[in-house]
């Protein structure tokens, strides 16, 4: 669905520099936030609430872009657009793709933290 990389290692390195000791806290916070958002996306989808779905996807997108997960961010944007268009029928495969990509990002972020 997207050819963007799973992680933007350059951006992550900069964040590491900025956050110093709090980098690990940031990663954990991001992962916890993202899990909550993923749950919200599922709930919004089941409830058929396109507006809430779009808003959740929007916020999710923002934090993915900031943390340096461009591929996940791009998937969230697709979800946001589907929500805005009121087209939740097409959203199901996107949410599935987000779940897959999120576990990929989780694994890679953990190993990024360990490698540094």
């Amino acid at each position: 669905m997207t050819d963007k990389p799973h992680l933007d290692e350059e951006a992550l390195a900069e964040l590491q520099d900025v956050m110093e000791d709090e980098f690990e806290v940031l990663i954990q916070t991001y992962l916890a936030d993202s899990r909550t958002r993923l749950d919200s996306l599922r709930q919004n989808l089941e409830a058929g609430d396109a507006d809430a779905f779009a808003k959740t996807a929007h916020s999710f997108k923002g934090s993915c872009i900031n943390i340096g997960a461009p591929c996940l961010g791009a998937l969230c944007m697709e979800a946001e657009q589907a929500g805005k268009a009121g087209n939740l029928d097409e959203a199901e495969p996107i949410v599935e793709a987000i779940e897959v990509e999120f576990s990929e990002v989780t694994t890679r972020l953990k190993s990024f933290g360990e490698s540094t």
């Binding site: 951006a11 900069e14 964040l15 900025v18 956050m19 110093e20 709090e22 806290v25 940031l26 916070t29 991001y30 916890a32 936030d33 808003k55 929007h58 916020s59 997108k61 923002g62 934090s63 872009i65 900031n66 943390i67 340096g68």
Partner: protein, 607 residues
């Protein structure tokens, strides 16, 4: 030493550029990870961070913490960024609090909505450290500049308020100095700004003790305080000397002397003095530097009273020319004087009304329209302003019958303080002094020391001036008063008067004044003698009064009649150059409505 170990977190984190001073930055962002990142970035720039998780918290923290800059996420639970922005801008009031939206919005119209809600800029995710720093610094510069401008504006506003307040106070002081003016008399009409004294214009009017009106219009160079300061002594001199009975020329000389002394070089006062004697039907005018004044006759004819002198405060006292133009006038005539603010009024195209404009208005004047109304109407029409401009003063004096003025002449009674009531004095004016000096103010002053007599200052002045003028003009100078019946003779009379005043050798006028108290007031006894050849006082006045005189002409004979009516006794001794009067006055308020004299000589019917 203990201080050194407790470095503040701001200091320890400050790797920021020297340009940014430590600001308090409010970050409102619902995403925990985004907020963590942004807070870390801002702290690293050396600023203090206040964090909010939604719009409601952001508004509350804004009130509580008074941050310098606000970073605000557009989409937040409870209250979104747009609404929070509106409330924060409203709370900030005049303070400039830069508000930067945080957004991953890519839709241009949504970004525009953020700015419409009061945002000053936006910062797009992912956050870039360099751009964030540049934006905070740029907005901090703007914020500080706004602060400086606001402070300066507030300072200017405060100073302006103070200035206006001071002007009001100064105006009250000025009004106290000038309080005895009679500008509100029905025969005087004027337009002047309430604060005209601060644009350099002054307008004073006083009733002469003998019946008549004195008006001074002045226009100081410059504006504001310097102009107002010059106005104070002018007011004091004018009112002080006018009530003491000094003539217009003496007052002008004194004003000039004072202003020459106190004003810096280059500052002076253009002015005009009108001295209307309604009894004599005579206007004496002086114009030094003001636009042409105008005498508009009741029949519509008009003539100018041009400036023939330098302004006041320019010439040394010995060079100053206080000689006045003397014009015969009749009731219904109008005299108009104005400051150059009038003729220099401009219309929307920047053209001046001009003195020619004034002339046109007066030439087209159709009675009974008064010159004052016509001029004000035209200037309003010309400038297109319903309220005429602040920096012009226009004054019109109507010549009236002197009886109209006398009706209002009795002043409020003064408290009866102790003073001289029983006294006698002789005062003789001799030789050259007859030409140079007017003894009436001095004589009036002596009489006014009697407690309670000041209320009658008008009558006493009239008595003294009738006696003195008869003695001088008909006794010493031997001028025949019937010269004044025609306009030509009028001019001739005053020319001859000036000429003969140069030859007063061997002459004198002697006043012997006595005052004694009575049960109800007092008795003033005046003897006036002169060194002239004398003439048949009684038959002379009879002869004059037998003629049918045109209105507006007033003569020695008429003056004699006036003396008869005002005094208990009038005796003419010898050749008519020794006149004696007895004047009784009452100090009680009861006397106010009684006829002002109880004549036991024969009474000559008037009109």
């Amino acid at each position: 030493m203990s201080g050194a170990s407790s470095l503040s977190p701001i200091l320890s984190n400050s790797s920021a550029s020297a340009e940014a001073d430590a600001l308090k930055v409010l970050i409102a962002e619902d995403s925990d990870s985004d907020r963590l990142i942004l807070s870390a970035l801002v702290r690293r720039l050396g600023h203090q961070v206040v964090e909010a998780r939604d719009g409601v918290e952001a508004v509350a923290l804004f009130c509580d913490q008074q941050p310098d800059i606000v970073l605000l996420d557009a989409l937040m639970p409870r209250m979104d960024g747009m609404e929070a922005a509106r409330q924060i801008k409203a709370l900030a009031g005049e303070r400039l609090v830069p508000l930067i939206f945080l957004s991953s919005l890519s839709d241009a119209s949504e970004l525009a909505r953020c700015l419409e809600a009061g945002g000053d800029d936006f910062l797009v995710k992912p956050y870039n450290r360099v751009i964030l720093e540049a934006k905070i610094n740029a907005f901090n510069r703007m914020r500080k500049m706004h602060q400086v401008l606001s402070d300066q504006r507030d300072q200017i506003r405060r100073q302006h308020e103070q200035l206006v307040e001071e002007q009001m106070v100064a105006r009250r002081v000025f009004d106290n100095v000038a309080h005895t003016g009679c500008l509100n008399a029905p025969h005087i009409r004027y337009h002047a700004s309430p604060l005209s004294v601060f644009n350099g214009d002054v307008l004073f009017a006083a009733e002469r003790p003998g019946g008549g009106t004195l008006i001074f219009l002045g226009d100081f160079t410059g504006h504001g305080l310097p102009a107002a300061i010059g106005a104070m002594p002018v007011a004091e001199i004018f009112y002080g000397m006018a009530t003491k009975g000094f003539g217009a020329a003496d007052i002008l000389s004194e004003i000039n002397r004072k202003l020459k002394k106190i004003l810096p070089v280059g500052m002076f006062c253009c002015g005009a003095m009108l001295d209307a004697d309604f009894k004599l039907g005579q206007l004496r005018a002086w114009n030094g530097g003001l636009p042409d004044g105008w005498l508009v006759r009741a029949n519509g004819k008009h003539l100018t009273i041009p400036s023939r002198h330098l302004p006041l405060g320019v010439q040394a006292p010995d060079q100053f020319q206080a000689s006045m133009t003397v014009l015969p006038v009749q009731p219904g005539d109008q005299v108009v004087i104005m400051t150059d603010g009038f003729s220099e009024s401009r219309n929307v195209r920047g053209e001046q009304f001009g003195e020619a404009g004034v002339h046109r208005v007066l030439a087209d004047l159709e009675p009974p329209k008064e010159p004052f109304d016509a001029l004000m109407e035209h200037i309003r029409m010309f400038t297109g302003k319903p309220d005429a401009a602040d920096d012009l003063t226009l004054c019109a004096l109507e010549i009236i019958h002197h009886e109209q003025l006398q009706a209002r002449n009795d002043r409020a009674p003064e408290s009866a303080l102790s003073g001289p009531v029983d006294w006698h004095c002789v005062y003789e004016v001799r030789e050259r002094t007859l030409a140079d000096f007017n003894p009436l103010p001095l004589l009036l002053h002596i009489c006014m020391e009697v407690p309670g007599l000041r209320r009658k200052s008008g009558e006493v002045y009239t008595l003294l001036s009738e006696l003195y003028n008869n003695a001088l003009e008909h006794g010493v100078l031997e001028l025949p008063s019937d010269w004044k019946t025609s306009p030509d003779g009028f001019g001739h009379y005053y020319k001859e008067r000036r000429r003969r005043l140069a030859h007063t050798n061997g002459h004198y006028i002697r006043f012997a004044l006595s005052h004694q108290p009575t049960d109800t007031g007092g008795r003033l006894h005046v003897v006036c003698e002169d060194s002239g050849q004398g003439f048949d006082f009684e038959s002379y006045s009879e002869k004059v009064l037998d003629q049918r005189l045109p209105p507006g002409t007033r003569y020695a004979g008429r003056g004699l009649e006036l003396l008869r009516r005002m005094t208990r006794q009038l005796r003419v001794h010898g050749r008519g150059n020794h006149v004696e009067i007895v004047y009784d006055w009452e100090s009680t308020a009861l006397a106010d409505n009684a006829p002002s004299g109880h004549n036991d000589t024969q009474r000559i019917a008037d009109d």
